[in-house]
């Protein structure tokens, strides 16, 4: 389960940076870019809290 959460979190980060790069390269329009970045934000916010702080506490 934790691995799935990490994958979704990672996908969230990818969606936060790749759409702007695609916009820069002229492969994506502005509105879909904003939409995908919003999706990425939700993916990160919903999944990252379940593993980030836990792994840092375990590492103590």
């Amino acid at each position: 389960m934790k691995n799935i959460l990490k994958i979704v979190s990672f996908a969230g980060l990818v969606l936060s940076i790749v759409p702007p790069v695609l916009l820069f390269l002229g492969k994506l329009e502005m509105d879909p870019m904003k939409l995908w970045m919003g999706v990425g934000m939700v993916a990160w916010m919903v999944t990252a809290p379940f593993w980030i702080n836990k792994s840092s506490q375990q590492s103590q």
Binding site: G12, S16, I17, P19, F24, G38, M45, S59, Q60
Partner: protein
């Protein structure tokens, strides 16, 4: 960032408040890399980058100034703060108490708490600019000192109440949340720069240079703003965290470092936050100015929303909130040092109230560069006192940790170093027109000199001991 590590540092349950950090609690440089990267990519970055644009910094001055200024900041942390932190392994407050005495530390705490309140207030105002977007709130402009509308006041007060309520619950949950959001926020800053440059028509390295020079940082200040030179950029980048490095606040953090070389870990923070993020937020503002020609509006929320959509607006809210919250908490801790018998939640509530009222005034955002410089300047002399006590007490023939060694609660040399240095800086400003950004450097030397001279008089080493 290691959450428990950070909680230990800023939390009230500090285990080593009056003892040196023991060997088994020391941390390697990696712990500091993450922590500094998160701490210096914050809500303030959404304001500082655009203010450089508004002050008409040229592109070359900005890049050169940030490279040099940030390098000087890293060196200040690594060569001035970290060696003392790892030699003494004490908090700033305890170290200061031993040198200056409890009564001087009380005044220091009061000034510190007030500065924290104003800083947190500016961050609540930044968040409010994003929260107000769906309500079509009229945003403040660069020239505003006072709130423009009742809607702004209501939004800020409501937001301040929420932030204060969360702060009353303690530091832990927000620390965890900030921990989670940090990697995402750093990426949003990178995205902001990429999208902004695309909107400004950058398609090649050549056009990047042209747009940077002629559109973003064209060297022309906005109406009513003074023009910043490369020296402003260098000194601001160097001294925007003056309270933390030469002011020695980060003794409290770096005392956990295994080696003084961990002080270099701060480069992750300053070059991500104070280089990439300032440039990125400057690009965002340039896009806003292009789209809204002649606009005097200065609101990070709408600026980020226009370019990045909902992700940009949410990033502004979170960046402002996660900066305001620990700052309110730290202000509460500083005040608790003065009123130790008052319950923590009551102090935090008072601090939150002051912060929320301060946040109503947009001047805190519009004058953030000046405020940050003032904040560092006010606290810096006490850092110089700690430096002088550590390095010069033996060489110059006075007793180290004067208050402790004389069993006093008040050290006149430390107090006068603080006050006279600030008087000296005020004099430079009033009579010679030296801007606030440049006062820290001469002020530091003056503070060291006053402390050494007065300590030699007040706490001389007895001749038999000196021999």
């Amino acid at each position: 960032m290691s959450n428990r590590f950070f909680k230990k540092i800023v939390g009230g349950t500090n285990e080593f408040e009056r003892t040196p950090v023991p060997e088994q609690s020391l941390k390697g440089s990696r712990s500091f890399l993450g922590m500094y990267a998160g701490e210096h990519t914050a809500g303030t970055e959404f304001v500082i980058g655009p203010l450089f644009v508004a002050h008409g910094v040229s592109a070359g001055d900005l890049v050169f100034g940030l490279l040099i200024g940030n390098l000087l900041a890293v060196l200040s942390w690594a060569l001035i703060t970290a060696p003392i932190a790892t030699a003494k392994r004490m908090t700033l407050y305890y170290q200061l108490e031993r040198i200056a005495g409890k009564n001087v530390v009380r005044w220091y705490n009061l000034v510190n708490a007030l500065m924290f309140c104003f800083l947190a207030g500016s961050m609540i105002a930044v968040s409010a600019t994003a929260v107000g977007i769906p309500f079509d709130l009229e945003m403040p402009t660069l020239a505003d000192w006072f709130p423009r509308t009742a809607g702004w006041v209501v939004t800020v007060l409501l937001l301040g109440a929420v932030v204060t309520l969360v702060a009353i619950q303690g530091y832990s949950q927000v620390s965890k949340f900030a921990n989670v959001m940090s990697p995402w926020m750093i990426l949003i800053f990178f995205s902001a720069a990429i999208v902004g440059l695309s909107q400004l028509g950058v398609g090649s390295a050549e056009s990047l240079v042209t747009v940077a020079r002629e559109v973003i940082w064209n060297g022309v200040p906005l109406p009513g703003m003074s023009r910043f030179s490369v020296w402003h950029v260098i000194f601001f980048a160097w001294f925007c965290n003056m309270a933390m490095h030469i002011g020695m606040s980060d003794l409290t953090i770096l005392r956990y470092a295994k080696s003084w070389t961990s002080g270099f870990a701060v480069f992750a923070g300053v070059y991500l936050g104070h280089f990439v993020a300032w440039i990125a937020s400057g690009v965002l503002y340039a896009v806003f100015l292009q789209a809204n020609s002649g606009s005097q509006e200065f609101a990070p929320g709408p600026i980020a929303y226009q370019t990045l959509g909902i992700a940009g607006a949410v990033c502004v809210v979170i960046a402002g909130w996660t900066t305001a919250n620990p700052t309110i908490y730290r202000a509460g801790l500083a005040l608790q040092g003065i009123f130790p018998k008052v319950a923590t939640w009551k102090i935090t509530a008072v601090v939150g109230g002051i912060t929320s009222l301060a946040a109503c005034f947009p001047a805190l955002v519009m004058k953030l560069l000046d405020f940050v410089a003032l904040y560092g300047l006010l606290l810096m002399p006490m850092g110089a006192v700690i430096f002088a006590d550590f390095y010069f007490s033996e060489k110059m023939g006075f007793r180290s940790e004067g208050a402790l060694s004389s069993k006093s609660d008040f050290s006149l040399p430390a107090f006068l170093s603080w006050v006279l240095t600030l008087v000296f800086c005020l004099g430079l400003n009033l009579f010679y027109g030296v801007e606030i950004f440049f006062l820290g450097l001469p002020g530091w030397f003056v503070a060291v000199a006053i402390f050494v001279i007065l300590s030699k008089v007040k706490y001389p080493i007895a001749k038999s001991l000196a021999a």
